[in-house]
Structure formats: C-alpha cells, structure tokens
C-alpha cells in the first residue's frame, strides 16, 4: 500500500503538497530496490530545476540511482539530515526521508502526476 494522499512518478518519486510547496522523496519500492542506502547527493538550495532533470543521486553499495525532478521550480529546502544518516530513506521513505522542497509557479501542476492508485497499478504491471 502506498500513501493515498501523495502523487507519484514512474521513476518512483513521490510528491506531497505542503503550504503551497512540493516536498519530494522516493517511494518505498525505490528504496527497497536500492538496498541499504550509503549516500545521498543533495541538490543545492536556491537553485532552479526543470521537470525531469536529475535532482539528486542516491547510492547503495552496488548501485547508484538518480532522482528526477517531478516538477519545475526553485529548491527552497533540502533535508540536511540525509548527509549524516542516509539510511533514513530506508527506514522512513515517506516522512523523515524526504529529499527537498520545491517552490513551483503553479502548484496545481502536481495533478498531472500519477495518483496513488495509478502508481500501484504501474508497480503491478512492472513486477
């Protein structure tokens, strides 16, 4: 079961709207595919990013995976906790393991992303 209130991408990112901004993370499926996460390369605060551009790289011992921006906008905050404890993403992918916040011109753009139901169907199809 994936959290119903979030939006998703086919690249396994999730988005939560909070105070008019988008909070970004990776899904439980993505973290379990990667295994024990050893490092998260966080984006730079205050930089502009375009939708589908690489936002961050997440590394485990034997793999590295890019996180793509689900929306365009300006990065307003990054989760500094991940520098010290990247394993938070394994432990709590949807809450404590968030990666960054993006301020976007039109927050309604999130509605173009996958709903929880659609993402679950997508996961099943690609099992």
């Amino acid at each position: 079961m994936v959290p119903q209130e979030l939006k998703y991408t086919k690249e396994h990112e999730w988005v939560r709207v909070e105070n008019g901004e988008a909070v970004i993370g990776i899904t439980d499926h993505a973290q379990s595919e990667l295994g024990d996460i050893t490092f998260v390369e966080l984006p730079q605060k205050d930089t502009e990013i375009k939708k589908t551009e690489a936002l961050s790289t997440i590394e485990s011992v034997k793999a590295a995976s890019e996180v793509y921006a689900p929306l365009s906008g300006k990065i307003t905050e990054v989760n500094e906790m991940l520098n010290e404890k990247p394993e938070i993403i394994n432990e709590s992918p949807y809450t404590k393991g968030w990666i960054c916040r993006i301020h976007t011109a039109d927050i309604s753009e999130v509605n173009t992303l996958l709903s929880a139901t659609d993402y679950e169907i997508y996961l099943k199809e690609n099992e």
Binding site: F39, E41, V61, A63, A64
Partner: protein, 447 residues
Amino acid sequence: MNYIPQSDADRKEMLKAIGISSGDINELFKGIPESLKASSFDLPAGKSEFEVEKYIKQLAKKNASELITFVGGGFYDHYIPAAIDSIVSRSEFYTAYTPYQPEASQGTLQAIYEYQSAICRLTGMEASNASLYDGGTALYEAAMMAIRVTGRNKIIMDGGVNPIYRKMLYSYTTNLSIEFIETPVTHGQSNRGEIEKYLDDKTAAVILQNPNFFGAIDDHTDIVDVCHKFGALVVESVYPISLGVLKSPGEMGIDIATGEGQSLGIPLSFGGPYLGFMAVKKKFVRKMPGRIVGITHDDELRRGFVLTLQTREQHIRREKATSNICSNEALCALRALIYMCLIGKDGLKKVAQLCMDKCEYAKQKLETIKGVEVKRSSPTFNEFIIRLPKNPNEIIGKLIEKKIAAGFPLGRYYKEMDCYMLVAVTEKRTKQEIALFAEALEDALWN
C-alpha cells in the same frame, strides 16, 4: 607445451566425454562461420626458453644502460632496496586479480589501505585512491575531477608543469569543450600576476607543479588562497621524494595532489610500468576516480578491508562513471608502499636532504666552468637548469662518449631555451661522479 597441462590423450578423452566423438577440437569452433576464419597467422615457430633468453639478452646489450645519469625530467635514478623485489615477487601478490572478493584478498586490500594511508601522510592530504597509471594521466584525471566538482570548464595551467604532461592533457581533452590557458613562469616560479589575470568565476582549476619542470621550488599557499576566493580548485603535481623536506600540498591547502610515484622504489624501465598517485580533500572523495579501499568488519567484529565507494566506477556506473579506469598499477603501488615503509620518516628526510646537498654541490662545481651559467633565480630541490655557451645537444653527445648522460636539452620542449640543459642529481650520484661530470663538461666545451 610446458604451460598447458593437457596431453593429446587428455584432449581426446575430454572431447569424447562432452560428446565430440570425432576427437576433432575444431568442432568446438563450429560457431564461427568458415568464411571468417583467419586469413593468415604467419608467426615463427616457438623456441625454448633458453634460446629466447639468449636472444633477448643480445637485444638488451644494444642498450646503453650503464651511463652515469644526470637526466631527470620527472623520472629519477633513485636507490631501490632489494627487499622490494623480494616481496613483490611473492606470487600471492603478483598473480592475484583485483580484490573484488574481499575474503580471498585481504593481503592486497590491507596493502592498498596502507598505501592510501602512506600517500596521505606523504602529501599531507586526507584521501588517496589505490593508484592511477602514471603522473601524467593522474594530472589529466585531476583536471577532469576539478571540472566535475566545480561544474566549470576553464583550466589555467602553469608553464612549469612537465611539458609531456601538458601535451597529454591537451590530447585527452581535444573533443571536450575545455578552455586551457597557459601562464609562463617568471624567475623560475609560478607567475602570480598572470594566473590572477585569467582567474575568474568560470575557472575550474589552476594546475601547478612543485618542484616544477625546471627544478624550481615554490610555496603555492598564496595562489591557493586567491583561487579559493573564486571558487576554483588548485591541483598540484608533486615529486614524492622532495616531500621529505618541502612544504606538502596539504600544508599549502591544495585541493588535489597528484604525481609520479616512480621515485618510490620503481625502476626507470624505459618508461613503465610507473605509478600515478592522487590524493584529495575528503569532501571531494566521491568525485575522485579510481579504486578506493576502506575499513570495515565482519560479523564477529574482526577488522577487514573492502573496495568501497564503487558506485563511482565503470563496472557499476558505466558511462556515468568518474573515470573509465579499471586495471591500475597495483603492484607498483605495493612497491611504493614497501619503499615508504623501509625508508621511514627519518630516511625520507635523509634522502631528500642528500639530493639537495649533492645538487647544490653539482651547481657549485658546474658554475666554476667558463661560460656555464647556473640559474639561481629560485631555489631548487635536486634538479636545475644551466645555460651553455654551445649547443647542448652537441655537448650531451660528447659526454655520452664518456658514459655520462649530462642532462636533458630544454630546447626540445621550450623553443626559447635552446641553450639550456636540465640537470638532475639524486642520492646515488657520488662526489666523484659529479666531479667527473664537471671535468668532462669543461673538456667538451673548451678542448
């Protein structure tokens, strides 16, 4: 064939066992279309080891390897303790593969960890990789790393950097959009004014060398400070033996230190195999190329060593890797480690001081010769330039007849320096050999 165990009978038996009753080994190659078979394979018949040894030794005698050498140029005739050859001849080291299976490779892995530690201690840097091919490719990798770290693409390169290394950097980057600027040296040292003139917020790195190709030593601390104000990194190529006495890259605040490790117990061997080393500030380690060994433990908390941070490397990251390097110079790195252990901290200071003292003695002897000018505009380590009143090529030729390799003619790489020769003196050169060199030089110039 003595390296292949199987006899004809073994082969027949094996072929039969796997269902090739004809006993024709060519059946195993039936997946290769007939039309594609080799059109020629015209090689001589094999010979016994004895015959081959005799032949190769005949060829070896055609080399003039018994010269008393004052040629350096970044590659030096230092003493190599016998224990190094003895240890690296252990087949458990030299016949092993890259330590991808850590439990079966703790020897190699611990040795690499110790090598990384020794390189850090030598350079005063925080993190070293397991080795690169040579000093030149290490400098190229450092430039590429600086570009990755800064996201910029302009490189300022000091004219005192080994000209062969500079040529290598240009070759490797021909097809990439990198802007190179070369700044000339002034009085033998890095030209601060010129470097600052070109330094801006598009500069990825300034590349320096200490001692530089002319043997001159420098303190690059001030250049580092200015570069960091612009967010540019500083790369310095260093000569490891000199670090027994000279200010280390770490002490100057250098971001990426590289160098040629040949002087650490590796024979000159006509150009290789050598050893490229690279050591960086810890914050840049994930952008560093090459293998890295780290400490960890097993379930019973026994200390052990593994290859780590492998997501930087080609076998995982493929086209996004920090470098394409796979095989490195592991056995040469082991040689360098053993050298650094044997020589120890006291020995390193001693050999460095010996080099400097003998070099100064050579300067004093040579400058008594009429017409020979020893350049003293900047201090040197174990190599210096002299100006000759006659064409250095001619002089070098005459000295070779007396079994002395006098030095390297700088005109070869610096057009305006046709009358200059680069002279290197290591701890192996004796007072007597230096005197012989001075005498022969005087003789060649004036008799």
